[in-house]
Amino acid sequence: MIKDLSGLLRALPTPEPDSELRGRIVASRAAGTRVILPTGDKQIDWGFGIRVAVGIAAAVLLAVNIFPRGRDNQEGLASSANAFWWASEAVAQEPGGKRYVASYPLAELDRTRLSAGQWVFQSRVIIDGFTTDTITGDTLAITAGDYGGKGVWQIANRWGSRYFVSRDTLTVDRETWRPLRRAVAERRLQRPGEAPRAFEFPASGSIGPLLLASVPAGYTGSQLQPFMGPGLGLIHYLYRLPVLQTLPIRDGWRGSVYVTWAWRDANPIPLDARVVGRESQTVPAGTFDCWKVELQVPSNKAKTIAWISTDRHWVVRLQEQLRDGALEKVLVAATPPAP
């Protein structure tokens, strides 16, 4: 007969949390992840309630836009709670805000500069001078291929930690950069895998290329949240790295591009870029002579700094300032290797 069941229960051993958990939390916040907690507080903040309602409405609209009815991808990316860029971008353009346009002349992109290769980045959080590695790594791979008789680029982003790996592959027309297909696979390393989800962009749809050389007729500006960041947070940086390669950067250059969503071209995000100097950067992948480029979304005073190599225009370091520190990505390895 068991007498002191309560005592036995209290004595059950529990493990300690993973030592990386703290860093992952700080990195997730810095990367734009937001979670609505069930606090159960009775006091109603109507402003917050409206924001939540708008957020939910935006998520529903996006889900409807992304997943055409009748396809077998109805589970949707929205169910993918760990795809941190998703939630961030979903709330980034809540309607009702001030309208913003690009600050500089639109850049003439040099698409011939985009090349096949693989780039591995390491995330770091720097607070009060202390550097903490956060997640195991992010990999961008660009390969040339053929899809439906068209020459395409496959832009594959892979990121993860010791617990999950997420892979997001965008197939774009090599000439126009118009998205053709998107596939997402996410799996927990210690659990049965999930089937990858994929969908094709309809040829007749309104989805534009990743970068717009011009904005649609009648465009009056985009409604943007003030916290929207250009680099590591609200615009998923791995998608933007290949297009940053094609900016016509030179000493003293400044210009803007409109970054479009991978699934629709409404309300494009203006992104201002300005070369502020040259610096040599030593990262695990090597030492590079770089342009130091400030990237900024006009709605947000915060700037992201990108160090872009002068030879191949690779982004070798990307840094976003936090309140008391910085979040940065550094190039760890590249294929083909650095010259």
């Binding site: 209290r10 493990p15 949390p17 939390i25």
Partner: protein
């Protein structure tokens, strides 16, 4: 073994203000103060390390926005535990709907890795409970909540809380005695 309440951090008021303002350093310090205790609570409620870490991750990531609705009337630690318990239980319900089984539960990893065969049997009996009964057992017997606190946290009456506890303990005793 004593219950592990989440003690109040001496500067928690300053940290709460910092986190509310989006200060990542304050968030890190708040994690240092409360993270381990909340992880234990989440682990006891979910039964797996991965789920517990996900719960704690979500709680701290969502904290800056949640704190805008927090009124400093009671103990901050108690509020934080209540939120963590809710997140863990929501996660449990979703996992139950998806019929997920954590590795720890499926293979008895946690039991064998962290204790004796008696511990393993006790954990198996706990894991075998329906989610609603398990939550009451964890909160009352392992975390030291009162039935009134459990009622608030789970959104049930304190009578229901008592009934669930009695049923759960009876069920666990029966299973443990059958095992021995």
């Amino acid at each position: 073994m004593a219950i592990h309440p989440v003690s109040e951090h001496p500067q928690s008021a300053d940290l709460v203000g910092g986190v509310r303002n989006g200060d990542p350093a304050a968030l890190g310090l708040l994690y240092d103060a409360f993270g381990a205790g909340l992880f234990r609570l989440a682990y006891r409620l979910t039964g797996t390390r991965e789920d517990a870490e996900d719960v704690v991750h979500d709680v701290f990531v969502g904290l800056p926005e949640a704190l805008t609705r927090y009124e400093e009337r009671g103990q901050f630690g108690a509020w934080l535990r209540r939120v963590t318990a809710r997140v863990a239980l929501m996660r449990q319900r979703k996992a139950h709907r998806r019929q997920e089984v954590g590795l720890d539960s499926a293979a008895g990893v946690a039991s064998s890795a962290h204790g004796t065969s008696e511990d393993a049997a006790l954990r198996a009996a706990l894991d075998a409970l329906p989610a609603d009964q398990r939550a009451v057992v964890v909160l009352k017997e392992m975390e030291g909540y009162t039935h009134a606190e459990i009622a608030t946290t789970l959104g049930i009456s304190h009578v229901t809380s008592r009934v669930r506890l009695l049923r759960a303990l009876r069920r666990m005793r029966r299973q443990l005695e059958e095992d021995t």
